[in-house]
Amino acid sequence: MRKIRMITVGAMARQFAAALVFLAAVSCPAGDGCQPVVISPASAKDVAVVANAANPLCDISAVELRKMLAGERRFWRGNVQIKLALRQAGVHEHDLTIAAVVKTSNSDFDELWRARVFRGEASEGPRVITSDAALLQYVTETPGALSFTPGRNLRSGLKVLKVDGKLPGDNGYLLKVTAK
């Protein structure tokens, strides 16, 4: 009779976990390094910072984000132009982004860009797109695009950037929607 080796459940579990870790390491997106985003009901309402999928950035500081929104910085690293696209004023994600990042009102934000164009520091203001679908299509198709959209709108083809190391849903996330 063949001698039966008794293998404990624990030993099988250890081998299974090792296999999972190994395979997770080799199946991360090549050359990206950004962790996948999991959108839960808690983070679906938060405003995500989205960029074109070819953008190599994973994380952006609030200071740099403000500079980009205010037009003080106009290029990503690698000299790709920042193509800023926003929903129109009055839409929740637009208003929250301007208030939280630039720390101004919508009218002051418009005035800031009018002044920038008047000084010759920019040829035009941010592109304003009046529907979520068109906005996400623009970001998906445009290298250098940067925009802001609720977490529930996220889909493949977009890159979600962390802000100061935090993602939508995290405690302390800059563009968090707090329940009233």
Binding site: A44, R74, F118, G120, S131, A133, N153, R155, S156
Partner: protein, 446 residues
Amino acid sequence: MAVYPYSSLEGPAFMYEALHTPTATRIAVFAVAIFLLLMSSPIAGAQQPSVTLDADTVKALLQRVQDLESQVKELKVQMQTLSAGQNAPAQLATAQSPAGQAVNAPDAALAQTSMPDHAGMEVNGPRLQIRGYGDASWHASSRSGATNTFSLGQLNLFMTSRISERMSFLAETVIEADTATNEFSIEPERLQVTYNAGDWLTLSVGRYHSQIGFYNTAYHHSALMQTTQARPFMFAFEDQGGILPIHSVGVSATGTLVNSIGLHYVAEIANGRTARKEVNPVQSTSDDNNGKSFNLGFFVRPSQVPGMQFGFSNYHDHVTPPAQSGVVENILAGHVVYQTPQFEFMNEAVLQRHTLDSNGSTTNIPGFYSQISRRFGSYRPYFRYEYVNVPARDPLFADIGLLHGPKAGLRYSLSEFAAFKVEVGRDMRRGVSGANLFGTQLSFAF
């Protein structure tokens, strides 16, 4: 010792034998792990969010359906409008916001391809945008001989156009009346093509505002865009008696040197200005001499204090007045400015030095202004004190003399594009008694 779940008495014999071979065990474990990973995580490419289907998610999906339906409706309306042959440029104008372009992605494509007034024009060509600025005022002075006057200010047609992804055009064409003759003239006060190589270099060629100090590049030919009725005297336009080379024709470069500390540079080379009184002081088509003016400066916008800027610049030129000794001109300018939508505190100082070629003697022209204002809703009270002192022996601007005094006023924003200002001031000059000033101004954009 734990008992394996399948014993020879309970489990299928083939599975039992397979699982109890060490190599086979490992293979089975890895196979299951591979299967689970393939089903649940992305191997490459973009991130995939996972959504749990609850009431909120269903609601969000319904909202997306509604957005898509409204987009389809808009497309149908636009198709109907196109087929009815309405004027596409009028649609484009009403769709634009003051700061940018309010378009749906499909709208942009439609607007660019349907412009009956520009039949045959390249559909992907430059898109010219024009905005107008103007002002009208009433002012009075207690100075002997002065009259109270209604005045038209500068009518500024401000034009911009994107030539390509990184190249743009800007022009300020100003129509204004001469204060002495009331005759109108038209002049391109700014006319420049700008190339954005990156944050490190923005290159402009043409006629531009010299980057001397802060005010001259922050404010241009629009009373609406500045707090006060008029510019500080030190930064007055050449044709309004100003002593600085406000406009230059040449090449201007600026960019970010160190992003982390907000350090920027300025480097300019231009024709410089003419000292001949009978012609336009801005040399737009020919230079009096072979020498060029140079301007080099640095300024810092610290990231930790949004709205703060301080900097320094040095402008150098050689001016050759007719039948006089040439003059080497150096203009040293420094500024410390804190400016937010709610509050501004601007301080600039300039030292203009004129050195005669003939004997090397130098005259110094100091000047400064300090301006503070704060916004309270639609109201913005302000105060400014300014000072310029031109020595009597200065070879270029001796007629200016000493000019200084305070101005205080109130700006009321009628809307985003119109403002009404009331201002009082005291004008003090060397050799004449001071005069009280009073003025009102309506400034607007259109």
